[in-house]
Subunit: 113 residues, 2 copies
DNA sequence: ATGGGATATGTCGGATCTGACATAAGCTCA
DNA sequence: TGAGCTTATGTCAGATCCGACATATCCCAT
Protein backbone atom coordinates (compact mmCIF):
# COMPACT_ATOMS: atom_id res chain seq x y z
CA UNK A 1 0.00 0.00 0.00
CA UNK A 2 2.56 2.48 0.98
CA UNK A 3 4.52 1.28 -1.97
CA UNK A 4 1.93 1.44 -4.72
CA UNK A 5 2.22 5.17 -5.35
CA UNK A 6 5.93 5.01 -5.19
CA UNK A 7 6.26 2.20 -7.68
CA UNK A 8 3.86 3.85 -10.03
CA UNK A 9 5.90 7.05 -9.93
CA UNK A 10 9.17 5.25 -10.42
CA UNK A 11 7.94 3.45 -13.48
CA UNK A 12 7.27 6.80 -15.10
CA UNK A 13 10.97 7.53 -15.24
CA UNK A 14 12.56 10.95 -15.34
CA UNK A 15 9.63 13.27 -15.31
CA UNK A 16 6.59 12.28 -13.34
CA UNK A 17 3.33 12.61 -15.22
CA UNK A 18 2.51 15.09 -17.91
CA UNK A 19 2.34 18.10 -15.64
CA UNK A 20 5.88 19.25 -15.14
CA UNK A 21 6.62 18.65 -11.53
CA UNK A 22 10.34 19.29 -11.61
CA UNK A 23 12.06 22.39 -12.84
CA UNK A 24 14.82 22.10 -15.36
CA UNK A 25 18.28 22.91 -14.10
CA UNK A 26 18.51 26.28 -15.84
CA UNK A 27 15.01 27.35 -14.93
CA UNK A 28 15.72 26.64 -11.29
CA UNK A 29 18.82 28.81 -11.30
CA UNK A 30 16.95 31.60 -12.98
CA UNK A 31 14.47 31.60 -10.13
CA UNK A 32 17.26 31.45 -7.59
CA UNK A 33 18.97 34.43 -9.20
CA UNK A 34 15.75 36.38 -9.15
CA UNK A 35 15.38 35.66 -5.47
CA UNK A 36 18.87 36.82 -4.74
CA UNK A 37 18.36 40.03 -6.70
CA UNK A 38 15.24 40.70 -4.74
CA UNK A 39 17.17 40.25 -1.51
CA UNK A 40 19.87 42.58 -2.82
CA UNK A 41 17.34 45.30 -3.40
CA UNK A 42 15.91 44.77 0.05
CA UNK A 43 19.32 45.11 1.59
CA UNK A 44 20.08 48.39 -0.15
CA UNK A 45 16.69 49.72 0.75
CA UNK A 46 17.05 48.76 4.37
CA UNK A 47 20.53 50.17 4.67
CA UNK A 48 19.40 53.47 3.21
CA UNK A 49 16.36 53.60 5.41
CA UNK A 50 18.75 53.60 8.35
CA UNK A 51 20.92 56.24 6.74
CA UNK A 52 23.99 54.04 6.77
CA UNK A 53 26.83 54.13 4.27
CA UNK A 54 28.18 50.85 2.94
CA UNK A 55 31.20 51.26 5.15
CA UNK A 56 29.11 51.67 8.25
CA UNK A 57 27.01 48.66 7.40
CA UNK A 58 30.13 46.66 6.65
CA UNK A 59 31.39 47.42 10.14
CA UNK A 60 28.22 46.13 11.73
CA UNK A 61 28.39 42.99 9.62
CA UNK A 62 32.10 42.47 10.35
CA UNK A 63 32.59 42.62 6.63
CA UNK A 64 33.97 45.11 4.12
CA UNK A 65 32.57 47.91 1.99
CA UNK A 66 33.41 46.06 -1.19
CA UNK A 67 31.45 43.03 -0.13
CA UNK A 68 28.46 45.16 0.78
CA UNK A 69 28.66 46.76 -2.67
CA UNK A 70 28.75 43.31 -4.25
CA UNK A 71 25.78 42.22 -2.20
CA UNK A 72 23.78 45.20 -3.34
CA UNK A 73 24.74 44.96 -6.99
CA UNK A 74 23.88 41.28 -7.19
CA UNK A 75 27.41 40.08 -7.79
CA UNK A 76 27.36 36.35 -8.48
CA UNK A 77 30.00 35.74 -5.84
CA UNK A 78 27.49 36.52 -3.10
CA UNK A 79 25.63 33.67 -1.45
CA UNK A 80 22.07 33.69 -0.30
CA UNK A 81 23.28 32.89 3.20
CA UNK A 82 25.25 36.12 3.28
CA UNK A 83 22.35 38.19 1.98
CA UNK A 84 19.92 36.68 4.43
CA UNK A 85 22.14 36.93 7.46
CA UNK A 86 22.94 40.55 6.59
CA UNK A 87 19.27 41.39 6.29
CA UNK A 88 18.57 39.71 9.60
CA UNK A 89 21.28 41.74 11.26
CA UNK A 90 19.64 44.84 9.89
CA UNK A 91 16.49 43.86 11.70
CA UNK A 92 14.54 42.21 8.91
CA UNK A 93 12.09 39.60 10.17
CA UNK A 94 11.40 36.21 8.66
CA UNK A 95 8.24 37.66 7.18
CA UNK A 96 10.18 40.45 5.54
CA UNK A 97 12.50 37.90 3.98
CA UNK A 98 9.61 35.73 2.92
CA UNK A 99 8.04 38.66 1.10
CA UNK A 100 11.26 39.50 -0.63
CA UNK A 101 11.84 35.91 -1.67
CA UNK A 102 8.35 35.56 -2.93
CA UNK A 103 9.04 38.34 -5.32
CA UNK A 104 6.58 40.72 -3.77
CA UNK A 105 9.54 42.91 -3.24
CA UNK A 106 7.94 46.26 -3.96
CA UNK A 107 4.84 47.49 -2.27
CA UNK A 108 2.60 50.40 -3.16
CA UNK A 109 5.16 52.89 -1.87
CA UNK A 110 7.81 51.51 -4.13
CA UNK A 111 9.65 50.08 -1.16
CA UNK A 112 11.40 46.76 -1.21
CA UNK A 113 10.22 44.28 1.40
CA UNK B 1 17.41 67.99 4.66
CA UNK B 2 18.08 64.65 3.17
CA UNK B 3 20.98 64.63 5.56
CA UNK B 4 19.25 65.60 8.78
CA UNK B 5 17.84 62.16 9.54
CA UNK B 6 21.07 60.58 8.64
CA UNK B 7 23.16 62.77 10.83
CA UNK B 8 20.82 62.36 13.72
CA UNK B 9 21.03 58.59 13.38
CA UNK B 10 24.77 58.62 13.14
CA UNK B 11 25.16 60.63 16.28
CA UNK B 12 23.32 57.95 18.20
CA UNK B 13 26.20 55.57 17.67
CA UNK B 14 25.96 51.82 17.59
CA UNK B 15 22.34 51.09 18.18
CA UNK B 16 19.80 53.49 16.79
CA UNK B 17 17.12 54.55 19.20
CA UNK B 18 15.81 52.63 22.16
CA UNK B 19 13.79 50.13 20.17
CA UNK B 20 16.19 47.49 19.02
CA UNK B 21 16.37 47.84 15.29
CA UNK B 22 19.32 45.58 14.68
CA UNK B 23 19.72 41.97 15.69
CA UNK B 24 22.78 40.85 17.55
CA UNK B 25 25.15 38.59 15.71
CA UNK B 26 24.19 35.43 17.56
CA UNK B 27 20.50 36.17 17.44
CA UNK B 28 20.70 36.62 13.69
CA UNK B 29 22.39 33.27 13.14
CA UNK B 30 19.86 31.57 15.37
CA UNK B 31 17.13 32.81 13.06
CA UNK B 32 19.13 31.78 10.02
CA UNK B 33 19.59 28.29 11.41
CA UNK B 34 15.87 28.02 12.07
CA UNK B 35 15.17 28.99 8.51
CA UNK B 36 17.55 26.41 7.18
CA UNK B 37 16.02 23.71 9.34
CA UNK B 38 12.63 24.61 8.04
CA UNK B 39 13.89 24.28 4.48
CA UNK B 40 15.43 20.92 5.37
CA UNK B 41 12.11 19.63 6.54
CA UNK B 42 10.43 20.90 3.41
CA UNK B 43 12.96 19.11 1.28
CA UNK B 44 12.47 15.78 3.00
CA UNK B 45 8.73 16.18 2.82
CA UNK B 46 8.79 17.01 -0.85
CA UNK B 47 11.13 14.17 -1.70
CA UNK B 48 8.92 11.71 0.12
CA UNK B 49 5.81 13.06 -1.49
CA UNK B 50 7.33 12.08 -4.82
CA UNK B 51 8.31 8.67 -3.52
CA UNK B 52 11.98 9.24 -4.22
CA UNK B 53 14.87 7.77 -2.28
CA UNK B 54 17.80 10.00 -1.40
CA UNK B 55 19.83 8.32 -4.10
CA UNK B 56 17.22 9.02 -6.72
CA UNK B 57 16.93 12.63 -5.68
CA UNK B 58 20.69 12.96 -5.63
CA UNK B 59 20.78 11.83 -9.23
CA UNK B 60 18.28 14.48 -10.30
CA UNK B 61 20.25 17.13 -8.45
CA UNK B 62 23.56 15.92 -9.87
CA UNK B 63 24.66 15.42 -6.31
CA UNK B 64 25.21 12.50 -3.96
CA UNK B 65 23.15 10.58 -1.44
CA UNK B 66 25.32 11.74 1.40
CA UNK B 67 24.79 15.38 0.55
CA UNK B 68 21.05 14.87 0.34
CA UNK B 69 21.17 13.23 3.77
CA UNK B 70 23.12 16.19 5.11
CA UNK B 71 20.62 18.59 3.62
CA UNK B 72 17.75 16.80 5.27
CA UNK B 73 19.41 16.44 8.64
CA UNK B 74 20.37 20.09 8.79
CA UNK B 75 24.08 19.52 8.67
CA UNK B 76 25.90 22.82 9.16
CA UNK B 77 27.96 22.25 6.02
CA UNK B 78 24.87 22.82 3.88
CA UNK B 79 24.21 26.27 2.49
CA UNK B 80 20.89 27.94 2.04
CA UNK B 81 21.65 28.25 -1.66
CA UNK B 82 21.87 24.48 -1.95
CA UNK B 83 18.65 23.91 -0.02
CA UNK B 84 16.75 26.46 -2.04
CA UNK B 85 18.01 25.35 -5.42
CA UNK B 86 17.23 21.74 -4.54
CA UNK B 87 13.72 22.65 -3.53
CA UNK B 88 13.23 24.60 -6.72
CA UNK B 89 14.36 21.63 -8.76
CA UNK B 90 11.79 19.55 -6.94
CA UNK B 91 9.14 21.93 -8.17
CA UNK B 92 8.74 24.18 -5.15
CA UNK B 93 7.55 27.66 -6.03
CA UNK B 94 8.78 30.92 -4.59
CA UNK B 95 5.66 31.01 -2.48
CA UNK B 96 6.37 27.57 -1.12
CA UNK B 97 9.84 28.72 -0.14
CA UNK B 98 8.50 31.92 1.34
CA UNK B 99 6.14 29.93 3.55
CA UNK B 100 8.89 27.66 4.69
CA UNK B 101 11.23 30.53 5.44
CA UNK B 102 8.59 32.38 7.29
CA UNK B 103 8.36 29.50 9.68
CA UNK B 104 4.85 28.53 8.69
CA UNK B 105 6.35 25.25 7.77
CA UNK B 106 3.58 22.98 8.94
CA UNK B 107 -0.01 23.37 7.91
CA UNK B 108 -3.11 21.74 9.36
CA UNK B 109 -2.24 18.43 7.74
CA UNK B 110 1.13 18.39 9.39
CA UNK B 111 2.79 18.98 6.05
CA UNK B 112 5.83 21.12 5.58
CA UNK B 113 5.44 23.99 3.14
C1' DA C 1 19.02 -13.96 12.33
C1' DT C 2 20.20 -12.14 8.04
C1' DG C 3 20.23 -9.92 3.75
C1' DG C 4 19.18 -5.82 1.29
C1' DG C 5 17.52 -1.16 0.61
C1' DA C 6 17.54 3.25 2.75
C1' DT C 7 19.62 6.78 5.52
C1' DA C 8 23.43 8.81 8.46
C1' DT C 9 28.23 10.16 9.40
C1' DG C 10 33.19 11.00 8.53
C1' DT C 11 36.65 12.46 5.42
C1' DC C 12 38.88 14.66 1.52
C1' DG C 13 40.34 17.24 -2.80
C1' DG C 14 38.62 20.63 -5.53
C1' DA C 15 35.31 24.41 -6.20
C1' DT C 16 33.19 28.47 -4.55
C1' DC C 17 32.61 32.27 -1.27
C1' DT C 18 34.50 35.71 1.96
C1' DG C 19 36.95 39.66 3.91
C1' DA C 20 40.41 42.64 2.77
C1' DC C 21 42.93 45.68 0.04
C1' DA C 22 43.71 48.69 -3.97
C1' DT C 23 41.87 51.49 -7.16
C1' DA C 24 38.44 53.68 -10.12
C1' DA C 25 34.39 56.28 -10.81
C1' DG C 26 30.50 59.15 -9.27
C1' DC C 27 28.62 63.09 -6.30
C1' DT C 28 28.31 67.29 -3.77
C1' DC C 29 29.85 71.40 -2.05
C1' DA C 30 33.13 75.16 -1.53
C1' DT D 1 38.68 72.90 -9.96
C1' DG D 2 39.35 69.56 -6.60
C1' DA D 3 38.88 67.70 -1.85
C1' DG D 4 36.10 64.49 0.44
C1' DC D 5 32.67 61.09 0.79
C1' DT D 6 30.39 57.24 -1.32
C1' DT D 7 29.90 53.32 -4.26
C1' DA D 8 31.78 49.93 -7.88
C1' DT D 9 35.16 46.64 -9.62
C1' DG D 10 39.26 43.59 -9.69
C1' DT D 11 42.18 40.50 -7.24
C1' DC D 12 43.80 37.25 -3.86
C1' DA D 13 44.65 34.18 0.21
C1' DG D 14 42.18 31.80 3.45
C1' DA D 15 37.67 29.93 4.86
C1' DT D 16 33.74 27.36 3.76
C1' DC D 17 30.97 24.33 0.88
C1' DC D 18 30.41 20.69 -2.55
C1' DG D 19 30.34 16.03 -4.65
C1' DA D 20 32.18 11.75 -3.92
C1' DC D 21 33.52 7.73 -1.57
C1' DA D 22 33.70 4.65 2.44
C1' DT D 23 31.47 2.97 6.15
C1' DA D 24 28.06 2.61 9.78
C1' DT D 25 23.28 2.26 11.29
C1' DC D 26 18.52 1.48 10.77
C1' DC D 27 14.47 -0.90 9.20
C1' DC D 28 11.83 -4.34 7.14
C1' DA D 29 10.82 -8.60 4.81
C1' DT D 30 12.09 -13.23 4.59
Amino acid sequence: MRKSRRERLEREGWVVGSVKEFLGLSEADAVLIEMKLSLSRSLRERRRRYGLSQIELARRLHSSQSRVAKMETGDPSVSMDLLVSSLLLLGATSSDLAKSIRGEGRNKNGRAA
